[in-house]
Amino acid sequence: MKAVCWQGIHEVGVEDVPDPHLINPRDAIIKVTSSAICGSDLHLYDGYIPLVYRGDILGHEFMGEVVEIGSAVTNLAVGDRVVVPFPIACGNCFFCAREMFSLCENSNPNAHLAEKLWGHSPAGLFGYSHLLGGYAGGQAQYVRVPFADVGPVKVPPELTDEQVLFLSDIFPTGYMAAENCNIQPGDTVAVWGCGPVGQFAIKSAFLLGAERVVAIDRFPERLTMAEGSGAHTLHYEEVDILDALREMTGGRGPDSCIDAVGMEAHMPGLHGMYDKVKTTLRMETDRPGVLRQAVTACRNGGTLSVPGVYGGVIDKVPFGAIVNRAITVKTGQTHVHHYTRPLLERIQRGEIDPSFVVTHRVALDDVPEAYETFRDKEDGCIKVVVRPWA
């Protein structure tokens, strides 16, 4: 089959690799009909996530048709059309029992590596470094899905691939980010980053009852899309974000702040240069510019929700502000399995059509170029859908 492989920093390529096969009784093999490039794939592309090796198959947002099932999978049949959550979860352990699926204790065969870096290991993920299991990903024609009796969700034929594909990650991720804000009537929610997760966080904040959402970015097409969802927009190179947010909230600050940017934040001025230098010298692994600003902006007693990915250690985050102003911080890789069914129902009821984020559609052979376009935000690129059989 053809698959998108990581070949080095800023190098991905399409390679011919053997077709995947069943390894464990609870596995399934999926023929991928649609896949996507995620903003977090760019952290792999840019070399910000450790333990990614040449030859690793990328991609954790995918859906398709079941073509083979292991002997222990009884809830799926060959021919089923399914969308697959990006975390791999066993459904049996302490955390799965609590529906905290991205913390599954049994799906990361390299848990000992993650423990060295983070103290404890989270779940294994598709196509996201050997730290998180080293599982082959779904930017490929076929993919092996472990614990297929737990993850894949059957989708009805009347919904198109693009309407349900994002149940694999970015829709639940934006939704969980908004849910973590514990939104109350009248609340103002500020969202840093109007990439795909930010866009879903904006929509979800409104679905969950936010009075006002403020969207922060610098790319006109992303701000325009956020406006289309009903958000007020702020261009961070044109206005002082902290001043503007104070102005909009009677000096108090937003009730909740969502950092949908993560470890590779771009910040204007000295502040941005500081992190650029420190990460280049490997004195810091991540660039937490947005995190610092979101803490500073947040109202007393408010919530900081972080769906953006961070990998390692960061510097000069004002923890004193968090403590003295009683800010709640909520974060985590998304417990996707917990959200797939209720969010599928929202799509079926017509409350949201997730396909609004798609700007680019490419065949597998064009994926390497699409990574570059997406990274550089050229050509109005917001979300790339991959059609592995086109």
Binding site: Y53, S107, P146
Partner: protein, 192 residues
Amino acid sequence: AALALGAYAVRRYYASREEEALAGDSMRRMTASLAIQTAPRALYDLVANPERLASVLESVESVTRSDQGTSRWTVRSATGAAIQFEVEIVDDAPGSLIAWRTTPESQAGHHGVITFESGDKSHGTIVHVEIEQDMEEGGVLRRFFGASAESQLRKELKRLKQFVETGELATTRGQATGGRSLIGSALTRGET
């Protein structure tokens, strides 16, 4: 001041080396514990059965039972060396504890105890393993119980948990990948 600090650090270093050398005359101890979602008895039954246990553990090559009630184990060390030892059970409390020691002729002489303690319902069973190894035998021992031994012990306990909770062992062994670099293929052994 920096010089004084440096001298102090050097003195501390040699002092700790000495302490280590003294302790090295006796036994080296390692422990691991893990919560597993099942009843103590079910875990005990699995661990008490050498063949079933061996099928779960990564480092075990083979195990056979002798007529004298002991079991002979062949394990692979981190460096790939085969190590053989014979185990006799010295204490056995079905459902709660198994203690063992190796016979004198064994390589990698050690003794150990595994306990199964019933946690509250949501935490299942707390499994606790304690192994003390004889450091006097030198070379082979150090290969098997090197610095990686304790982390290998924790890995094996995790495999036991995976097997008991999910019915299988999470793995990418045998999965397809693109072309590896030399280093990559060494670090991802078993992927094709």
